[in-house]
């Protein structure tokens, strides 16, 4: 398998993806990014330029990957499906988006679970992914409601998400050396710490 032969290249690409998302001048996850390449690619760009979505999917994939092959497979199917369902619901129902604090709480939970790596049933990561995927997808759907071709943009978001989750989960599952699994757990703790700071940022007085 290519992933086994060249893990560093895969890590390098993953690092580039995260860094591009961070350093890009985009900020507003609430609005769809205009890539100039059509609505599908607008959706792809939106996902990769939304750090909160990237980090949530990353921590869930770490958690699923650490729990083993079965858990990772279920998660890879469940998260994009739930996200797409949430997106569609966000497009057709005009109720307000879930508050950002709730979305960040999901990142804390997923990050903590990856860091602690508790022995839970293989279906648990997928179940959690369904709940959090619907919430984040709904927020994406509300953001896209004003665009002309929201379903195509939604498909772009979900395609990017599916690739990202598949990539991260596959890298995590195939890492067998103890230090590599520990590195995955350390990354989970970083995600939880980011979520914790971000939620406090949202709730700080005067915000």
């Amino acid at each position: 398998m290519t992933l086994n032969r060249s893990p560093w290249r895969a890590y390098y690409c993953m690092g580039l993806a995260i860094l591009s998302a961070i350093l890009a001048p985009a900020t507003a996850s609430a609005h769809l990014v205009s890539s100039g390449a059509g609505p599908f690619y607008d959706g792809v760009a939106h996902f990769f330029l939304s750090p909160e979505d990237l980090i949530l999917a990353f921590s869930l994939a770490l958690f699923g990957g650490l729990r083993g092959r079965r858990a990772a497979k279920a998660l890879v199917l469940a998260l994009p499906s739930a996200w797409f369902g949430g997106c569609a619901a966000g497009l057709y129902f005009s109720s307000p988006s879930p508050p950002d604090a709730l979305l960040f709480a999901g990142i804390i939970l997923a990050g903590l679970l990856a860091a602690i790596n508790p022995k839970l049933p293989a279906a648990f990561p997928a179940l959690l992914a369904v709940i959090l995927g619907i919430c984040h997808g709904f927020a994406n759907g509300r953001a896209m409601a004003a665009t002309h071709t929201p379903l195509l943009a939604g498909a772009g978001i979900v395609a990017a998400l599916a690739l990202w989750v598949l990539w991260t989960a596959a890298l995590t599952v195939t890492r067998r050396k103890p230090w590599q699994r520990i590195a995955a757990r350390v990354l989970g703790s970083w995600a939880a710490a980011i979520g914790l700071l971000a939620i406090a940022w949202q709730l700080r007085p005067g915000s």
Partner: protein, 190 residues
């Protein structure tokens, strides 16, 4: 790589430059103060001296407790003696490295976690207005983790006899630095 090409093609948003600026601001914050840096690196050094499982439990738990402290700071929850706590953390952690202390894991975690609260709180209070909270947090956590990683990397020297002496000497330097900052905090002229 497509990610490279995706990043620059989004000039349409109102807050140009804010994303990168917040991330870099968060990244530079933990390495901006020598007192913070000394303590972060000392955590890694101590973890390396303690070996498994502390070498990985400390770097997992420290950012979490530090983020909790940061959250308290952001929310305006007061924590007394923050500056003294930060200086004292360098003193205590430096001392632990200097004497190559090997307490039970729970004690090591409690010591490191206690001081992590002060470091996090200081960063939370000092967090600049007008930044993107998520990107700032990402930079902040990555910088903290990399400082621990640097400490752990230097801690590889622990495998060799001369390296062990070198690590203890590094602990002594952290201790002296901590004492200097503690004296400054107490208003003493050094």
């Amino acid at each position: 790589m497509s990610f490279h090409t995706l990043a620059p093609i989004t000039p349409v948003l109102a807050h140009m430059g804010e994303g990168g600026g917040s991330f870099v601001s968060g990244l530079s914050h933990p390495i901006g103060g020598l007192d913070h840096m000394l303590a972060m690196v000392a955590v890694g050094l101590w973890g390396a001296q303690l070996g498994k499982p502390a070498i990985w439990v400390l770097p997992i738990s420290f950012p979490l407790v530090m983020a909790f402290g940061g959250a308290l700071g952001l929310l305006g929850v007061p924590l007394p003696g923050v500056e003294a706590g930060i200086a004292l953390s360098a003193v205590v952690l430096g001392l632990m490295v200097l004497i190559e202390a090997e307490p039970p894991l729970a004690v090591a975690l409690t010591v490191a976690g206690f001081f992590a609260l002060f470091h996090g709180h200081a960063h939370g209070v000092e967090l600049p207005e007008g930044q993107s909270g998520v990107l700032y947090s990402i930079g902040f956590v990555i910088a903290t983790g990399l400082l621990h990683g640097a400490g752990i990397g230097i801690g590889v020297l622990h495998r060799w006899k001369a390296g062990r002496r070198g690590l203890r000497a590094a602990g002594g330097i952290v201790l002296l630095g901590g004492l200097y900052f503690l004296a400054q905090t107490c208003g003493l002229k050094v």
